[in-house]
């Protein structure tokens, strides 16, 4: 093997990245990790302890919230796939190239205005005096507004809306490389439309679906804004627990422990999902 020559340009390029990683990501995490293993003893001193982690498992409100959050995130991920796959297919295979790039640009717009603004937008649409309720009243279908906002429905819509794009982009990029002749070949061999969809298109775009799902799941499970603003009182999100520990009860040690639990448990869910679906993480990055 030839030895690589690192010159000054290489160092100039790599040092900012390393500084960023170490100072802003690695060090704070180490600090939080240490902090998560500390708890007050009877004398009010900070000592090494598993108490913060034990609290999660002992107090049912915590792990129930986590399971609720995880199930919701899985649900939103599946919904995101169901909603975006036809759009991705339409944009890559049906519509002509000329319009496809324009339509893709339209999809990006919600991302430009930021999550908070899109969520306020949804509040305007879903509120008691929002567009939907006012319209239904106007055509005489209802007399009193239906509660749409601050429900599981509005929260799901918000989560879906902000994460959809991260599902659509990887799926589109795998579908783009799908040669149309594969579809024709399948049809030539007697495959019905359904067969083509389930046996050719879905398996072919599996790497894109997997990476999209991982991103959406992680985004949703770690989201704070949509559940907090659009979600109802009953829809407790695990990130809200972490927020409360840090900023309401000022128990940073507990908050840090919850943060790491979120990281490990959600990673574990992704790992299990990959194993169950027979996908490999290496292939997903392609």
């Amino acid at each position: 093997m030839e030895k690589k020559q690192f010159n000054i340009t290489f160092y100039l390029l790599v040092i900012p990245v390393l500084l960023w990683l170490v100072l802003l990501i690695v060090l704070p995490h180490i600090d939080l990790l240490i902090s998560s293993f500390k708890a007050d003893n009877d004398m009010g001193e900070k000592v090494f302890s598993f108490a913060n982690y034990m609290a999660f498992f002992e107090d049912s409100i915590y792990w129930r919230t986590f399971i609720n959050t995880a199930l919701y995130a899985i649900g939103v991920t599946i919904l995101a796939f169901v909603v975006t796959f036809p759009i991705a297919f339409y944009l890559t295979k049906v519509v002509s190239n000329k319009y496809a790039s324009f339509l893709t640009l339209l999809l990006l717009i919600p991302l430009w205005v930021g999550e908070l603004v899109t969520i306020y937008g949804w509040m305007i649409i879903l509120g008691d005096h929002g567009i939907i309720n006012e319209f239904l009243k106007y055509i005489g279908l209802i007399e009193k507004p239906i509660p749409l906002l601050y429900t599981d429905l509005s929260m799901t819509i918000g989560l879906l809306y902000m994460s959809m794009l991260f599902m659509i982009v990887p799926i589109m990029s795998t579908l783009e490389s799908l040669d149309d002749s594969l579809i024709e070949a399948a049809s030539d061999l007697g495959a019905s439309k359904w067969d083509i969809f389930t046996k050719i298109i879905i398996p072919y775009s599996m790497p894109g679906i997997t990476s999209g799902s991982i991103i959406v799941f992680m985004l949703v499970i770690g989201d704070y804004v949509a559940p907090n603003i659009l979600g109802g009182k009953s829809s407790l999100w695990f990130t809200e627990q972490i927020y409360n520990e840090f900023l309401s009860t000022f128990n940073w040690n507990e908050g840090a422990a919850f943060g790491f639990l979120l990281l490990f448990l959600s990673s574990a869910i992704v790992w299990i999902a990959l194993r169950l679906s027979g996908q490999k993480l290496e292939r997903v990055g392609q």
Partner: protein
């Protein structure tokens, strides 16, 4: 004479601004190897896609085993295609690729297993069942694609320039292999290509297509020996081509003034074609019915058995003449003057 498995009647395909296929008529006999040869853009792929059902015809009819294919979708036609880029399913292994069609037919597992194994054996891919198609060589992928179609036992197998992507050596090899495979299996093959050598070597009959029409349908030998139109003469095989400007009885004159005698000529031709190998170098005096003239060798284009002389005649016309690689002509070199003859039959006028 065997049965007509495919009959094409007055078939046309018009697109918004041009006609891709115009009133094409032909039939293919059962068990035959039929090629459609034409330059790119001549409409041969459109024709193939109409037979397979991916494009609807504008006019005319396609009959397979005497039954009209009007309105029958691709998945229900008794034909299968081997695509130009093969279109193997990359997420499946060799076995799954070949079994794909049979599984769609919902055959039972045992039968699928048997038919796929048998088919893979025939194309020489036994033991490759579990391999990923992306790990195969070009020739092996080719054979998987053919096996995948043949396992369906189609009445007709359509092949859309499947050798195009292979390198030259492998292409030569696959040509022979395909022909042998077709003989052995007996399925009717319709082969589309722009490569005349592929068409001539493999086919029983060849249709030459140009601008959406068939110029000539014939055996490879006849196509080469007796091209019926100027296009066929120019497209199939190599030819020396001359513009003819006038005729005086049996004497025709090329643009640059070369007078040639062609017996039995009853029309004024526009073009004259002569194959490089039709020239007889240093013809014996007793040979009759040949046109004799002198040429001057400009250069020798050595290419093994395909070696040719580029020579000029007094009028200035240039000729390509095949040079047999034997001892008799060993000493020929640039600048030499040689006597050359052409049999009158080999002067093709259109």
């Amino acid at each position: 004479m065997s049965e007509k498995i495919l009959e094409i009647k007055n078939l046309s395909k018009r697109f918004a601004d041009f006609t891709a296929v115009e009133s094409v008529d032909f039939f293919v006999e059962e068990g035959g190897f039929f090629s459609i040869l034409g330059p790119s853009g001549c409409g041969k792929t459109t024709l193939l896609r109409m037979i397979s059902g991916f494009i609807e015809e504008s006019e005319g009819d396609i009959l397979i085993k005497g039954e009209s294919m009007k309105g029958i979708p691709p998945e229900e036609r008794p034909v299968n295609i081997v695509f130009q880029n093969l279109a193997l399913f990359p997420m499946m292994n060799v076995f799954e690729n070949v079994a794909f069609g049979l599984r769609r037919k919902k055959l039972d597992k045992k039968e699928i297993q048997e038919r796929v194994t048998d088919m893979l054996e025939r194309v020489g891919l036994s033991g490759f069942e579990k391999k990923k198609v992306t790990d195969l060589s070009g020739g092996q992928r080719q054979r998987v694609a053919i096996a995948r179609s043949l396992v369906m036992r189609p009445s007709i197998l359509l092949l859309d320039e499947p050798l195009g992507a292979l390198d030259r050596k492998l292409r030569e090899h696959m040509k022979i292999e395909l022909k042998l495979l077709q003989k052995e299996i007996g399925t009717t093959f319709i082969y589309i290509t722009h490569d005349q050598s592929e068409a001539l070597v493999m086919s029983d009959r060849v249709a030459v297509m140009n601008k959406g029409r068939f110029e000539q349908i014939d055996t490879p030998k006849n196509l080469y020996k007796n091209p019926q139109t100027a296009f066929v003469a120019g497209f199939v095989g190599e030819s020396n081509r001359f513009d003819i400007v006038k005729r005086d009885g049996e004497v025709i004159t090329t643009k640059s003034g070369w007078d040639v005698t062609k017996h039995g000529l009853d029309f004024t031709p526009k073009e004259l074609f002569v194959r490089p190998e039709a020239f007889i170098i240093d013809p014996a005096d007793e040979l009759e019915n040949i046109e004799r003239f002198d040429v001057k060798i400009k250069t020798i284009l050595f290419d093994g058995a395909n070696t040719k002389i580029s020579a000029s005649i007094d009028s200035g016309d240039e000729l390509l003449i095949s040079l047999p690689q034997n001892a008799k002509f060993e000493d020929l070199k640039e600048g030499d003057k040689v006597k050359v003859g052409i049999a009158h039959n080999d002067l093709k006028c259109y």
